[in-house]
Symmetry: C2
Subunit: 111 residues, 2 copies
Amino acid sequence: MIAQTLETPYYAVIFTSILNDKINKEEYAKTAFRMVELAEQQEGFLGIESTREDIGITVSYWKSLESIKKWKFQTEHTLAREKGRSEFYKAFKTRIAKVERDYDFFIKDIK
Amino acid sequence: MIAQTLETPYYAVIFTSILNDKINKEEYAKTAFRMVELAEQQEGFLGIESTREDIGITVSYWKSLESIKKWKFQTEHTLAREKGRSEFYKAFKTRIAKVERDYDFFIKDIK
């Protein structure tokens, strides 16, 4: 789903990653699902978009830098991120960005 | 590939999209490929990351808002965007964001 975010400005965390060749895929999927579930409960969470082919891109949207910081240090998330480094990911890059403008296009009724 | 961008700050264009059910996939792939090729030739282009499952996420990185604006109005890109609205996409959202911080993790030698 395309995230229905608020009016700008708001913040985006762009997380791009490459999985290790040998991982427990079930455990990874479970952890990824749990992190979305947890993020949704955080104050300031606005939405998330995620997809993976050879690389994975997950963009989560937040009201403020403060809400991103709180999410970063949420205990269960911190443990999952440690597992990310030690087991799941071969490489990743995290970018914190301020969304200054946005626009969209939706076909409501396709005939 | 994870884009190897410069030091912050720089800009990201986060483009999230859903394809129409009936499109000419070959034409779409050709257009998408051509747009990456063209973007790479633009002044201020820093890199691009792209992946698609049920939604597609493409993040392109740019030196400045000025370089994004020039890319937006590049003639061939403008034509492709019109085709995007009229043929390829059911919905999309474009977000222009200033990347304020980034950090990464790369395993160089996996034994």
